[in-house]
């Protein structure tokens, strides 16, 4: 397929996934922000939403004060924030239009329909109710697109490239969430149940839709190291780093097979996956959770570069 098409599909999947993640972050933050102050670090919640989304520098450069209204506006609707939900959907549509021939009707209609509805949301008020509707809408759009891709796309390189983009982005998002919140997951913060951090842990889990899953996996009350374990090393958890990499490796491998050769991208992805496979949560904490996540983010970024070099010349 055309390199430009592959590139577009790769980014299209990333934008849709990012929009979904931003919606989750906002939802989790809004929930946390409604708690009485005595229950958590509520003051910093909107700042950490900015940090997890990677939008903090742009937000501060714009000279805005950190509060719910400003952060919600900036992350969800702002045309000035290059990765606001609104811009993600618009960029996704621009990419989709450029590669319409590579998309199925279901995928196109999901994106195009979202783009058309976006206008109405932009015009609507920013009442809590409207924002709630909007965030649900974004998650639905992302699910419709993803589902459309899964159900209707031919299993060829168009599919594999878009899946690689999706899982790379998802891994990046989970890693950034962990990066911002790592301090509340450190073992020394272990306190008796109902500590102030408890609500931070649940917020993390909610951001990745794993609040219920946690209990099914561990059958235990919330423990910070288990939250970290779930998000990093549990293959059955679809947003964990290891699950994302399992899929990255799988899709890159199919791509390599259909092209008849494996390259630096495949080798690098397998190496990262191997590290995750052999790690235990004890060893991760022993060597430093923060360093571990930082180096994962760097490795993940490197894979993006390698895929570009190998296929998108």
């Amino acid at each position: 397929m055309l390199s430009r098409t592959a590139d577009n599909l790769f980014w299209l999947a990333r934008y849709m996934e990012r929009a979904d993640f931003l919606a989750r972050i906002l939802q989790a933050s809004r929930r946390l922000a409604t708690l009485p102050r005595a229950y958590g670090g509520v003051e910093t919640e909107w700042e950490s939403a900015l940090l997890s989304s990677g939008a903090a520098p742009a937000f501060h450069a714009a000279g805005l004060t950190v509060d719910e209204a400003n952060v919600t506006q900036f992350l969800a609707f702002s045309p000035d924030n290059p990765s606001s939900i609104r811009n993600c959907i618009e960029l996704a549509r621009i990419n989709a239009r450029a590669v319409r021939t590579a998309l199925t009707v279901e995928m196109w209609e999901a994106i195009n329909g979202a783009f058309l509805e976006l206008e109405a949301f932009e015009r609507a008020s920013r009442s809590a109710e409207e924002v709630t509707r909007f965030l649900d809408f974004v998650k639905q759009v992302s699910a419709a697109y993803d589902g459309g891709a899964h159900r209707t796309m031919l299993r060829n390189d168009a599919y594999w490239f878009s899946r690689v983009g999706l899982y790379l982005e998802r891994a990046d998002n989970t890693a950034r969430l962990l990066d911002v919140k790592y301090h509340v997951l450190l073992p020394e913060t272990e306190a008796v149940g109902g500590s102030l951090d408890y609500f931070q842990w649940t917020a993390i889990l909610r951001a990745v839709s794993a609040h219920t899953a946690y209990h099914w996996v561990y059958r235990d009350s919330l423990k910070p190291w288990l939250v970290a374990d779930l998000l990093i090393l549990r293959p059955e958890m679809p947003r964990s780093l290891i699950a994302c990499y399992e899929s990255v490796v799988q899709n890159l491998d199919r791509l390599g097979k259909s092209h008849g050769k494996q390259g630096p991208a495949q080798r690098h992805a397998r190496a990262v996956f191997g590290q995750l496979e052999h790690a235990t949560i004890e060893s991760v904490f022993h060597n430093g959770l923060h360093d571990f996540i930082q180096s994962f983010i760097a490795d993940n970024h490197r894979l993006g570069t390698l895929v570009s070099e190998q296929y998108l010349f």
């Binding site: 397929m1 055309l2 390199s3 430009r4 098409t5 592959a6 621009i94 239009r97 450029a98 590669v99 319409r100 021939t101 196109w108 209609e109 195009n112 329909g113 058309l116 390189d157 490239f161 092209h259 296929y311 998108l312 010349f313």
Partner: protein
């Protein structure tokens, strides 16, 4: 005189009696409620927007993408009428091809004095780069859109030849799909010639036009200026239907006079380029150096005979308004046949007698600039003030070679579903002709364009024109028996 002809409605004729091809539609129209038509109109708009059938409007900030209005009532042409039209279209495109091969080759028609050489050589669309060059299979125009207007029962006239990169075929195809979904009952009452095989025929034409050295399985691509082009929807639609890559200039490169596209598996050779990019932008080395849309070195590969461009470079010289007036002579010259389709009678102001006539009759004629388009530099006599006419007369006397004049035509009307009910609106027709080494074909029907505003004659989509599905139906005899 055409302007004296009574108004002709394709359903009601001149006297209001329903013409035979429209009998079923007329009956159906009396059986449906106005609310039904209104709901179908709304549904059609929703469908088009969902599918994303839009076109871009330049310089309009609030809406960069618009829908072309679609009218839900079909325009109907009987098979027998169509058969005549079809023959005439093929004849015309054949002649256009021979004409172009001659203009860039021996120039016999110029030597014979049939067409004045300065009209060709001083034409801005003439490409000196192509002089003396042959193109694969000597075919210049693979895809033509010939604009046709109708004035009465058997009066079909060619209004304009489009031999560069005619557009609109995607609307023709989508209109049919939407129509079959919206009004299945009405559709089922007629035997409508199918058009869905057009993409296959187009692909076959492109493949057959590949350079002789291309091998058994030539690679075709569709070259688009990109998604900000007004016809981008059509480009992506066609590439998808044809199953060929939709490429931009930056996806192609030329090495050793061979064209390649950049793919995830490395460079892949390209044999046929269905280009929807104007000559000027094709190759920054040969034409406009500031073009970022083209492919450097493409003309080198073209001249080396390693790639087919469809349509060929330089076809614009055959479809401008000055050359148009010579088309009947062109057909006689190359084919030794009488033209089957009439030209709209045209006075060439470059000729002394014609100029005198035009100057005397400015109040009833349409005068056009030879190289103008989109309604600019035009005088519509019956709608002009005395001052405008006087002003135009001076312009005309000053530079007569730059103008042609035509009678104001009584374009036929068709019933259209509008907010107030069903009303007649003016229409034209753009059939699409494919021409390859294995012969010519015309997709039955084409794109009917409608002037949606009452009494308007302007059918252009950029000026609020709409489209209709066009049915060629089998079971209607032309005369009542």
């Amino acid at each position: 005189m055409l302007s004296k002809v009574a108004k002709f409605d394709e359903m009601g004729g001149v006297d209001g009696a329903t013409r035979i091809p429209y009998e079923k539609l007329a009956k159906w129209l009396t059986s449906v409620e106005p609310e039904f038509l209104a709901s179908r109109r709304a549904q059609a708009e929703l469908l088009f927007r969902r599918i994303g059938i839009t076109f871009a409007v330049y310089g309009s900030q609030e809406a960069t993408e618009r829908l072309i209005p679609f009218d839900i009532l079909p325009r109907i042409i009987a098979r027998a009428e169509w058969a005549q039209l079809e023959k005439g279209l093929i004849q015309r495109v054949k002649a256009l091809n021979l004409f172009l091969a001659d203009l860039y080759g021996p120039g016999e028609i110029l030597k014979a004095g049939v067409v004045p050489s300065e009209l060709v050589y001083r034409n801005p669309a003439f490409r000196p780069e192509m002089a003396g060059r042959r193109v694969p299979h000597d075919i210049f125009v693979h895809i033509a859109g010939i604009d046709i207007i109708r004035t009465d029962d058997d009066g079909f006239y060619v209004l304009e030849d489009n031999a560069r990169t005619p557009s609109g075929v995607s609307y023709m195809l989508e209109n049919r799909e939407v129509m079959m979904r919206l009004l299945p009952d009405l559709f089922a009452q007629h035997r409508v010639a199918p058009i869905e095989n057009y993409p296959d025929q187009l692909l076959a034409t492109l493949r057959s036009a590949a350079p002789r050295g291309a091998g058994a399985d030539p690679v075709s691509v569709l070259l688009t200026p990109g998604q900000y082009n007004s016809a981008f929807y059509e480009h992506s639609f066609l590439a998808d239907k044809l199953g060929i890559e939709l490429v931009e200039g930056r996806d192609l490169f030329v090495k050793d006079d061979i064209v390649y596209m950049r793919t995830t598996e490395g460079p892949r050779r390209v044999d046929v380029i269905y280009r929807r990019l104007d000559d000027d932008f094709l190759d920054p080395l040969a034409f406009r150096p500031d073009s970022a849309l083209g492919v450097a070195g493409l003309m080198g590969a073209y001249h080396a005979g390693n790639v087919t461009l469809a349509n060929a470079v330089g076809t614009g010289v055959a479809d401008d308004k000055a050359i148009y007036t010579y088309m009947p002579e062109v057909i006689r010259f190359y084919l030794g046949e009488e033209p089957l389709l009439k030209n709209v009678p045209t006075w060439r102001c470059r000729e002394k007698e014609a100029l005198a006539y035009v100057l005397d009759h400015l109040g009833e004629l349409v005068v056009k600039e030879v190289n103008g388009s989109g309604g600019y530099g035009m005088l519509v006599g019956p709608h002009a003030t005395k001052a405008q006419i006087a002003e135009f007369a001076a312009k005309l006397a000053d530079d007569p070679t730059n103008f042609i004049a035509q009678p104001t035509l009584a374009l036929s009307t068709c019933p259209v579903s509008v907010a107030s009910g069903v009303a007649p609106r003016h229409v034209d027709l753009r059939p699409f002709v494919l021409y390859g080494p294995n012969g010519a074909s015309v997709v039955p029907g084409g794109l009917t364009r409608v002037a949606m505003k009452e009494n308007s004659l302007v059918v252009n989509s950029s000026q609020g024109g709409g489209t209709k599905d066009t049915w060629i139906i089998d079971d209607a005899p032309l005369a009542r028996v």
